[in-house]
Amino acid sequence: MNVLILGGSGYLGAAVAQACAASGAEVRVLSRSGRAIAGEAVRGDIRMPRLGLPARELARVREETTHVVLCFGSVSWTSGPGEALETHSSGMRSVLTFLRGLPALRQAVHVSSLLALGRAQGRVTNRELYTGQRFRNWYEYGKYCAERHVRDSQQDLPIGIVRFGPVLGPDPRGGRPDTEHGLPKVFPHLLAGYPVHLASRGDFPCWVTDVTSAADLVWKALSAPIGRSTWTWFDPARPTLGEVFTEVCRPWGVVPKIVEARPLGRFTRFIGERVGTPRELADYAEPWFDLDPGVLDDIPGPWPVPEADYLAATGRALLGRAEREIGV
C-alpha cells in the first residue's frame, strides 16, 4: 500500500502519516513546506496543476500511489473567503482532477469536518450535508464546499469521507500545540483566567476527539476500506464543551470561568465579544447542532480508542512550553 497524504505535515496529517507508517504502508507526504515526520516528504501545492510536482516526481507519484488522504488546509475560523475557498473549494477541485489521473488509485479519504454542517437544522446524520444551514464563518463554508465537491466526484472516484469535530491532544510533531486556530484559540484565554460566556455554561456536546484515534480512524478508512461511505468520529465518551475546558485547564490548576449566557442570540454574542470571549468562540457559544450519536455505528468495529486523559494532556502540552519559557 502506497499512501499519499496531502497536507501530511500538519497537525492531523502528521498523525495520519505516523499511523500509516506504523501499519506498514509506504507513506509520501505532500505540503508546501515539504516537511514530514514520517514517510517521504515532497514539496507541492494543491492549488497548482498536477499538485505543482516536477515531472519526475509526478511520474513516480502517478505510478506508485494506491491510496490518498486529503487533509490539507488549516482550521482557521477567522480566515476570509479568499483563503478558505482557494484551498477548500478550488484547491479541492484540482485535487479531485488529479486523483482522476491516478491509474493505481484504490481508495481516497477526505478528512471533512462536522463544522461543514454549520448551524444545521434538525437532527443530522452521515447523510446530511446541506440542511439549509447558516454558516458561522468562511472555514465552515469552505469545508462544506469541499465535501460537496467530493460527493459530486464519488460517481467516478473511489473516495470516502471521514468527519471529525475539533481534534485535540498533544501535537504529534512535538512542541507546543497550535493555539492560533480553531477551538484551541480559547485555551490561552481561559488559562489566563478570563471568562467565557456559554449557553447552559457549556453543557452541550462538542464532538471532540483526540488526534491519535482520529488518525487511526483514517487508517481504518484506508484499509477497511471505507469505499464511498461517510463516517463520523468523535470521542464516544462525548465530553461537553464545559468539560473539555475544565479538563484542559486542570493541569494548570485553573478552574475556567464559564459564565452562563442566556440564550439571547445576537445579544449574548455581542456581550461576549465586549467582555472578551475570543471571537473564535463567540459563534460557538450555543449548542452547535443536533448530531445523531448513532452515526458511530456506521463505523465497523473495533473502534479506535482515544488516549486516556488526552484533554489534560493537551493542557500539559501547553504548560510544557510555558514552563520552559518561565524557566521552571
Binding site: 492549488r47 497548482m48 496543476p49 498536477r50 505543482g52 515531472a55 477567522t78 476570509g80 473567503p81 479568499g82 475557498l85 482557494e86 473549494s89 478550488s90 484547491g91 477541485r93 484540482s94 482532477t97 454549520g118 448551524r119 446541506y130 444551514q133 447558516r134 454558516f135 458561522r136 464563518n137 468562511w138 463554508y141 462544506y144 464546499c145 460537496r148 465537491h149 460527493r151 459530486d152 445576537r266
Partner: protein, 502 residues
Amino acid sequence: MKEKTVSVDTDLHPYFRIYSAGNFGEVAPQRLSPMSWSLVGDPMERGTRKLAQRLWGRPAWTEGSHYVFVGYFGCRPYHNLAAYCHLSRGIPGLSANDVTDAYFEGIDSPAEITALRSGRTRRLSAATRLLRELRDIGPRLRALEERVAELEWALRAATTANSPIALFSVLRDAKPVLEEAWAVHILTTSGCVPIRALQQRVYGRLARHGDEIAHWLTRPRELVWDRLHTAAATMDPFGPGDFLDSSFYEVADSSDPWQDYAVRHKLAANSGTQAAVAPIEPSEALAGMLSPWRSRTVRSLAVAVGEVMAGREHSKSLAMRTLHIYRRLLPELAGSLGVDPGHWPYLTIREFTDLATDPGLAARALPRIAACRVALGTPMPEHLDLSDGDGTIRPWLSESPQTHRGVAPGIGVGVAMTPDGELPDEPVVIVCSSADADIAPLLPFAEGVLSERGSDLSHIAILAREYGIPCVVGYPGAASLPAGTAVSINGSTGEVNILDQS
C-alpha cells in the same frame, strides 16, 4: 511644394490630451473605418456629453466643437483618458485610479487640472443624480430592446421586399436607437465605477474581510449573452443573435482594408448540461455570518452592483445589434444611392444619409481613402500622449509597472486553451490576448480565464464573475502559451503559475 493632406483625425481637446484605447483597445478592432467611427465614437461622445451635463450642469469643458471624451487618431479609436479621469473627480470619494483600474488596465492617470475642479455641493448632487439615473436603467433597456427588435423586423421586411425606400426608412429609424443604446451604455459604464467604490467602502465598515467579500459576491445575474447565443443557434440571419458572428464594432468588415482589422468573433456551439448539485453560493453563505440588517445591506448592494454590470452588458449588446443593422443596410443602400461599393466606409453616417439630397457628398470619400492609407501605415500606441499638440505621436507611458491582476476571484487550474482551440478532455484555462462576449459559450467548460488585456470591469471580467470562474488579466504572452500547458491562476491575488512540461 507640400501638398495639403486631408486628415481623418479628430481635433484635439484644448487641455485633455492623454488618450487611451482602453476598452476600445481590448475588444474593438485596432482600427476603425471612418463610417464605423461615426457610428461608434460620435454617438458615444454625444452620450457622454449629455450625461456630464445632466450630472454637473453645463461645465464649460464639456462643450465646444472638438471631441471631449473620445478621439480618432490614425484611424484608431481612443478614449480621452484625461477627460474620464477628470469626470471621476467630480464624484465624492472617487479618484482617477478607480477609473484607470476599472477600464484602462491600471495605467497611471494624467495629472489633474485643478482649475476645473468642481465644488463639493456640485459633486454631491452629481452623485445623487447618477444614482437616480442608474435606478431607471431596467425599464429603459427593456424599451430599447423592443425598438431594436422592431428595427430587425423592419430590416427583414425591407430586404425580403427588396425595397430601397423601406431600407432607407430603416436607416432613418436606426439613428435614434443607436444613440440611445450608446447613451445607456455610457451611463452604465460610468455608473459601475462609483457604485463599486461605494460598495467597497460600505463592506469595509459592515463585514470582516469586506474587500474580499465584494469580489466574491458581485455576480451579475443572467447576463444577456446566454440568451443571445441561444438565439444565434437558430441561424436566423435577421435574428437577435446574428451579430455575434460579426466583428461587433466594424460595420465595413467585409470590405478592404477594414476586414483585416475586423476581429472576427467566434460562434461556439452551446452544448448545455451542467454539474449535478450546485453548491450554495458564497452570498448565501454570508447570510449566517452577519446580523440580519447587515446581511441585507451587503446583499442588496451586491445585487445593485450586479444589476448595473448586467445593464452594461445588455446595453452593449443592443448597440452591437443596432450596428449590425447598419452593417447590412449600408452596402445594400450604397448601390441605390450611386456610391462606389468600396467608398461608403469612408463616408460618415451623416454624409451617407444626406446623399439622397446631395449626391455630391460621395466625392468626399476619395481624399479620405488616401488619408486612411497613410494612417493605417503608422503604428498607433495603446496609450497616446498628445500634450505637445505638434502632431507627433508619443505613447503615454505608465511609470508604475504593470502587473497582472485578478479580476474575478478563485483559483483556476487547467491546461491552456485558446478560444478557437478544440476542447480537450481535461479542465481548461482559456488563454487569450483579449476577450469579449464571444467567449461566453466556452465559459461553462472553463476553470479560468487568463488574458493579456483587460481591467477590473472589462466585459471578460464581468462574464467570468457571472460564471463564477476566476479571471486574471494583464498577463503578457498569455495567448501564445502552447495549448496543453498546465496553468494555475489565482483570480483574487492575480498570481499565475505556469508549470513547465519538462
